[in-house]
């Protein structure tokens, strides 16, 4: 059988980086094909070449065996190739239908736009593939998972035969992710070809038919999931055994380091994001804050680091009241932060890795007001060595780093600042298993060193593996708090959904 899409000998060079090195990649109609590989392995690059976003230095692309003259995304779309980016490209104030037809030629410029026909068609598509999208709903009112399905509708409406999704589940709740995988299965069953790029091995095992593994720009293997295992995939990808279980020593937590008392915070939309939230972070412990994305976690982190003003309550570091302190004051007091949005909050894409590595610590690099750039570069070089950041070039623009490598820069920077309390938000989102292993090890090392760590994560597995205590946040409130030993998935899941997780009505808090 001829594959629907076949990429042959793709080569792509970026200045100083060989991102794709003679890559062969086939996708059949009717299959879900996973693309797996370490951060910076070249997955996104390959997909962007197939979608016509990047040119290639060599190689050809065949659609159903015929060479495709691929010069822009337009050519790709015409050939039935569609791609969903990690950042959705939707107009928030438009309805689903309007977003779907946006950018399509519809008769003359002066003819009134006919939305009823498309709306009907969209409803039909939505029904056929089990997408559950209301064509009239405004994007801004839709949860992330549904927005993503609008993106899928956009592709289907444009008659895409091949759908490429680059890390689609990174921003989804576990429930949403499961629903998405079901949708993808329906699509494949109806003859579409689906490519998902993901770092989550269990998703691959559960949903994909085949998986192609990349390392350092090359394809190192392509296997049927039915004939493989998570362990084998991890080994193929990283080139060694990986064991994703954190081994924690039991050690008693020390005195309280960071205390949050009755914190009340507004969201950007002026709604209440935190309502009298209290937490106590102790020396040498990891407090896991579990919760579905968007329940006030980001606002909490921002309020703790001074990026958002609290409208009530207190933040105390030791005896010191930091409630009104500026971000810089909190930093120097010893509160470090790794934000979830690494591209827009944690880094400056146009500046080099070295310049990003010193962000937040720039005072320490100044002598007589002048920045000691040499020291900054050697610090960055050390960071890149220690955290295996690739490419290992301190002068490389941070914006060109793959997501996982950028995350390592952020995390390394925070750890290197030797904080008393560290707030990490979604630390391993988008990271490959090897990198996750490294990040977890770093966090545990910090814990051993007596730091107080607040781990905000939507990954339950991460929370369960690392935390000494687990608190669950729901709609800006702590639903309950339990020692890790007593945590079980079911209880936490219930609390994350807003119940107190105690059948007998007794809450732990």
């Amino acid at each position: 059988m001829t594959p629907f899409l076949s990429a042959r000998g793709i080569v792509k060079r970026f200045p100083g980086v060989l991102a794709n090195d003679h890559v062969d990649f086939d996708v059949n109609a009717g299959e879900i094909h996973a693309l797996l590989g370490e951060n910076g392995a070249g997955k996104s690059t390959l997909m962007q070449i197939v979608y016509g976003l990047y040119g290639r230095d060599a190689g050809e692309i065949l659609i159903e065996g015929r060479p495709l003259d691929l010069r822009s995304t337009r050519d790709a779309i015409a050939a039935g190739i569609g791609m969903i980016h990690q950042e959705f490209m939707l107009v928030r104030r438009f309805s689903a239908t309007e977003n779907v037809v946006l950018g399509l030629k519809a008769g003359g410029a002066l003819k009134p736009l006919d939305l009823e026909g498309p709306a009907r068609e969209i409803a039909e598509l939505s029904r056929r593939y089990g997408l559950q999208v209301d064509p009239a709903a405004r994007i801004e009112h839709l949860p992330v998972g549904t927005q993503q399905r609008v993106e899928i509708l956009k592709l289907l409406y444009r008659k895409a035969k091949l759908l490429i999704l680059d890390e689609p589940t990174a921003v989804l709740t576990p429930g949403e992710a499961e629903a998405l995988l079901k949708v993808l299965r329906t699509l494949a069953d109806q003859g579409h070809a689906v490519v998902i790029v993901t770092h989550k091995l269990h998703e691959i095992m559960a949903a994909a038919d085949r998986v192609t593994i990349m390392r350092d720009g090359r394809v190192v293997g392509s296997v049927k999931t039915a004939e493989s295992s998570e362990a084998e995939l991890a080994r193929l990808m990283v080139g060694r055994e990986v064991a994703l279980t954190a081994r924690r020593s039991t050690r008693p937590a020390g005195p309280s380091v960071l205390r949050v008392e009755g914190l009340t915070v507004m969201s950007d939309q002026g709604r209440s994001a935190l309502e009298g939230l209290s937490l106590d972070l102790r020396e040498g412990e990891i407090l896991g804050l579990a919760g579905v994305d968007g329940n006030g976690q980001s606002e909490l982190a921002q309020a703790l680091t001074g990026l958002r003003t609290a409208s009530g309550g207190r933040v105390l570091l030791g005896e010191r009241d930091l409630t009104r302190a500026s971000p810089a004051e909190r930093r120097s007091a010893g509160v470090a932060y790794v934000p979830a949005d690494r591209r827009h909050v944690g880094s400056v894409g146009a500046l080099s890795i070295a310049e990003n590595a010193i962000l937040g610590d720039q005072r320490a690099y100044a002598r007589f007001g002048l920045l000691d750039r040499k020291r900054g570069r050697s610090f960055a070089a050390g960071l890149m060595e220690r955290f295996d950041i690739r490419p290992r070039k301190p002068d490389y623009p941070a914006g060109k780093l793959s997501g996982g490598n950028l995350q390592k820069v952020q995390l390394g920077r925070a750890i290197a600042s030797d904080p008393r309390a560290l707030i990490v938000e979604q630390p391993t989102r988008g990271l490959d298993v090897g990198a996750i292993e490294a990040v977890w090890a770093e966090l545990l090392r910090l814990r051993e060193a007596g730091k107080a760590i607040l781990l905000i994560s939507a990954e339950l597995e991460e929370i369960l593996n690392l935390s000494d205590r687990i608190a669950v946040i729901y709609e800006g409130r702590i639903m309950g708090e339990l020692p890790a030993a007593q945590a079980d998935l079911r209880r936490i899941g219930l609390m994350m959904a807003g119940s107190h997780g105690e059948e007998d009505g007794h809450a732990d808090l």
């Binding site: 200045p15 990047y54 040119g55 500026s326 720039q362 007001g369 750039r373």
Partner: protein, 367 residues
């Protein structure tokens, strides 16, 4: 069918930027050369006259430096403001304010005034300080408006231009008016004039002040911690806040410094060229300085080069008109063409013509 398509590999980096600028200037000169033909003039000799006069003759080069100094200072102000994400457009007003401040100090050096007999070595720092402070306060108002009330600096700074122009108009027709006819201040005492660079050369110490300022701005913006914070603020205010940078404070600083630099341009004009405060004397230099900053890619060194080139063309245009009888407006058209072509060059570093038969595989080529 579309005419342009996005380059798969945009030509980035300093070399590509420099090359595209150089090509743009050459292309503008080539197209501009055609404008000479209707006058029966040979473009090559016209250009020879143009650049020969302004760069190769002692006299002309002096004029070029004279005109370049204020452009450099304003361009530097633009670099500081825009790189910090402060879209300030009020340089024209700051020039006038700086000119007024320098005039005021210089007039105090007259016989019988409080600073009478002040040596030049003491006067100059005082004048620089006065114009820096006056211009800094002037643009600082705009900065304060933005950081305190979120006022749009583009609009407020443009409005402040008018206020400054009118303020100077008031000064020269009232408090600072020269006894007698024209709306201008009395002539400044000779001791306060900027000295000529060399005897018989029109250029004065203003160009040295401008070059020194370029050095300072370069060190501040690209080498110091505060400059780093400013650049980060301009590129990504969220990341700046995350990094403990006080964004409002840095933008306010940038605003003050930008205004101060432009005000120094006013001072250089007054002390070096006009030797008095004249109504409307800035004559748009505040806007030309912004163009020079753009042509100089918002880099201090680029500003020096672009300003000198621009000034030279202006000087050469006058000479050309005098000597060859060619209208100097042609040169202004060429100047505008250069701006346009450089912008086009920016575009073509990211896009290219969509030609049939062009393969994506060749998309790596730069400019």
């Amino acid at each position: 069918m579309r005419i342009f398509e996005r380059r798969a590999a945009p030509a980035e980096g300093a070399a590509a930027a420099a090359l595209s600028t150089a090509l743009a200037i050459l292309a503008a000169l080539a197209v501009g050369g055609l404008l000479f033909l209707p006058f029966g003039a040979d473009p090559f000799s016209a250009y020879a006259a143009l650049f020969g006069e302004s760069f190769l003759t002692w006299r002309g080069f002096g004029f070029t430096l004279l005109k370049a100094a204020p452009l450099i200072l304003i361009g530097l102000g633009t670099v500081v403001a825009w790189r910090t994400g402060f879209g300030f457009l009020g340089f024209e007003g700051c020039v006038m304010i700086g000119a007024a401040a320098a005039t005021w100090v210089a007039l105090m050096v007259r016989e019988g005034q409080i600073l009478a007999g002040l040596p030049f070595a003491a006067f100059l720092p005082l004048a620089i300080l006065a114009s820096l402070i006056a211009g800094g306060i002037w643009s600082g108002i705009v900065g304060l408006f933005k950081s305190r009330f979120g006022g749009n600096e583009v609009i407020t700074s443009l409005m402040m231009n008018y206020v400054a122009l009118l303020l100077v108009q008031y000064l020269v027709s009232g408090p600072l008016r020269e006894p007698g006819g024209l709306p201008q201040s009395p002539r400044l005492p000779r001791e306060t004039w900027l000295p000529q660079l060399f005897d018989g050369m029109r250029a004065n110490a203003g160009i040295l002040i401008a070059l020194a300022a370029a050095l300072v701005v370069w060190a501040l913006l690209l080498r110091s911690r505060i400059g780093y914070e400013m650049v980060v603020t301009g590129l990504n205010p969220k990341a700046a806040r995350f990094g403990g940078v006080e964004v409002g404070r840095r933008q306010f600083m940038a605003a003050c410094l930008a205004g101060g630099l432009a005000a120094m341009a006013g001072m250089v004009e007054v002390l070096g060229l006009h030797h008095r405060l004249i109504d409307g004397m800035s004559g748009g230099v505040g806007f030309v300085g912004m163009v020079a900053a753009l042509l100089g890619k918002l880099h201090p060194l680029g500003v020096v080069i672009a300003s000198t080139l621009y000034a030279g063309m202006t000087v050469g245009a006058d000479a050309m008109q005098r000597q060859a009888g060619l209208p100097s407006s042609i040169v202004f058209m060429i100047q505008s063409l250069i701006v346009l072509f450089i912008l086009a060059g920016e575009f073509f570093r990211r896009y290219r013509l969509r030609l049939p038969g062009r393969r994506t595989a060749s998309a790596g080529e730069g400019v």
